[in-house]
């Protein structure tokens, strides 16, 4: 269940992880992308913190929307549009339900609509999809997340910048998958996965 409190704990922790892993994420983005994923998300994390500090959200919808708007207006790049869209869809759905699985499923649907990718294309979808499935079964574990992230390594990218390097994308983790992994680890730790 995603209460306002859980959302805030979740996201604060995610922001912390992002700022810690900023350089690592950009490094991951270097061989198969343009080396900015960590910087992009760090701008987003800062903007989320600023937005949440400025005004405590009244409810889950307000919280999710504030997060979405910070991401949409400060991140840019592919990940800004994608994470922004996912949180915007979660915000919309949160008016009807607080069930984590439903909210994440709405986020995933938004991601897929925005980016046109499906699983196996070496993107963040490859983490979101198994996480949504596991959450629906009430079974999300760190291992599921880690495995999903790790599974992007042998994949060949066919979407996003990484697709430009073709076969050379094989053997590298997808940066967006790794950052999504952090998102769901934070969710798990915040107790929001059930």
């Amino acid at each position: 269940m995603l209460t306002t409190d859980i959302i805030l704990t979740w996201i604060h922790d995610f922001d912390k992880k992002i700022s810690e892993k900023k350089d690592y994420l950009s490094e991951l983005d270097t061989p198969i992308g343009d080396g900015d994923h960590g910087n992009n998300l760090a701008r987003g994390a800062e903007a989320i913190e600023a937005a949440l500090n400025k005004e405590t959200p009244a409810d889950a919808t307000a919280a999710l929307r504030a997060i979405a708007m910070a991401l949409v207006s400060k991140v840019g790049g592919a990940s800004g549009a994608l994470y922004g869209t996912a949180f915007l869809e979660m915000a919309k759905t949160s008016r009807d339900t607080t069930k984590t699985a439903d909210l994440l499923a709405a986020g995933l649907a938004g991601l897929q609509k925005r980016g046109g990718a499906t699983t196996g294309e070496k993107t963040m979808i490859d983490v979101w999809a198994p996480v949504v499935t596991a959450t629906k079964g009430g079974q999300l574990t760190q291992k599921i997340i880690d495995d999903a992230v790790a599974a992007t390594k042998p994949m060949r990218a066919t979407k996003g910048r990484a697709s430009y390097v073709g076969d050379s994308s094989i053997g590298h983790l997808d940066p967006g998958a790794v950052s999504s992994g952090y998102l769901f680890t934070s969710l798990l730790e915040a107790g929001g996965a059930k």
């Binding site: 343009d34 900015d36 910087n39 840019g76 592919a78």
Partner: protein, 334 residues
């Protein structure tokens, strides 16, 4: 890394400030954004707005092409990062004169998605928006297994052609038709001698040995298709024109515009030598060159190297559009 800057986090904001203060006759900043609009509003009246944008680090692209006969507005994203939809939306609103707005997007997933989101926002306002996604970089296979080809230096020809048409009163639909017709006729390929350093990253995106070059590198340092030992300009030309020839399947008598574009750290001297070798080979092949341009137009920060764009002039009016008067920071023509 040595760069003339203050806090790397503010480099785009400070660059934009420098631009609008150095060239107030050309560009104005939209409040609280890194989006710029043409200063001479009267030149926009009654015409379709033409906007572009993308990550920064490619200067003078895009803001350097704002002005009469070219762009109405441009959006400067963070370095090598597509701009956010709210800023693109601001540019759309500023460019719209009631005739709709045409967007020139470079084919990167981030750009495409963010421009799409901005279009969605403008739709709600009833502003009609159409777009073209430029994908001129033939270094990448255009297959269903990739995001498609990247948009690179050839984009400035798209700006020029559409800018001239918009200035002459083309409608939004006419611009779309023109853009679609022009698109497959613009193809580009690059050779890099060194990587670019993103200010916030602090080290080059890739490195090459002291005697090494890489063919097919993208404008964000995306890997190319082959590295090899440094070779004379003529040989580079042979390699790149070979790729372009295969892509166009061009014949003696075909008519082209040619752009030699410096990536940022390559002196004009070298660009002119390279252009000479390009023109020599094209002449040998019987190709007719009707328009030429040499300089730093679509750069990649401090990358050394050049890109070569051929634009096949299958329609005579396109040459007129290239020669149409224009008045911007980076491209001014009587």
């Amino acid at each position: 890394m040595k760069k003339i800057m203050n806090d790397p986090k503010n480099i785009v904001a400070e660059m934009v400030e420098g631009m609008v203060r150095a060239y107030p006759q050309f560009v104005e900043r939209l409040p609280e954004t890194e989006a710029l609009v043409r200063s001479d509003k009267s030149s926009m009246t009654g015409k379709v707005g033409l906007i572009s944008g993308g990550g920064s680090g490619h200067e003078p692209t895009h803001a350097g092409f704002i002005g009469e006969g070219m762009l109405s507005a441009a959006v400067c994203g963070q370095v090598f990062t597509s701009p956010t939809p709210d800023q693109i939306y601001a540019a759309i609103k500023a460019a719209d004169q009631g005739k709709g707005v045409f967007m020139v997007i470079k084919n990167y997933s981030g750009d495409v998605m963010n421009f799409d989101m901005a279009k969605d926002m403008a739709d709600l306002d009833g502003i009609e928006v159409k777009s073209i996604t430029v994908d001129d970089d033939i270094a990448v296979e255009n297959s269903t297994f990739t995001q498609g080809r990247r948009g690179v230096a050839g984009t400035i020809f798209m700006h020029k052609i559409l800018g001239a048409a918009a200035d002459q009163g083309a409608s939004l639909t006419e611009l779309e038709t023109l853009a679609k017709k022009v698109l497959p006729n613009i193809k580009t390929i690059a050779v890099a001698l060194s990587g670019a350093t993103v200010p916030e990253v602090g080290k080059p995106g890739f490195t090459l040995a002291d005697d090494e070059l890489e063919y097919g590198v993208g404008i964000h340092g995306e890997p190319g298709y082959r590295k090899e030992k440094m070779r004379p300009s003529k040989d580079l030309v042979k390699e790149l024109l070979g790729k372009l020839k295969a892509a166009f399947n061009y014949q003696a008598g075909d008519k082209f515009a040619v752009l030699v574009n410096g990536m940022g750290a390559t002196p004009l001297m070298e660009q002119f030598v390279f252009m000479r070798d390009v023109l020599n080979q094209l002449k040998d092949e019987g190709v007719n060159v009707a328009f030429t341009k040499v300089g730093n137009y679509m750069t990649s920060l401090d990358m050394a190297g050049v890109s070569l764009t051929l634009f096949k002039l299958t329609d005579d009016s396109w040459l007129d559009n290239l020669n149409y008067p224009v008045n911007t920071i980076a491209w001014t023509q009587k």
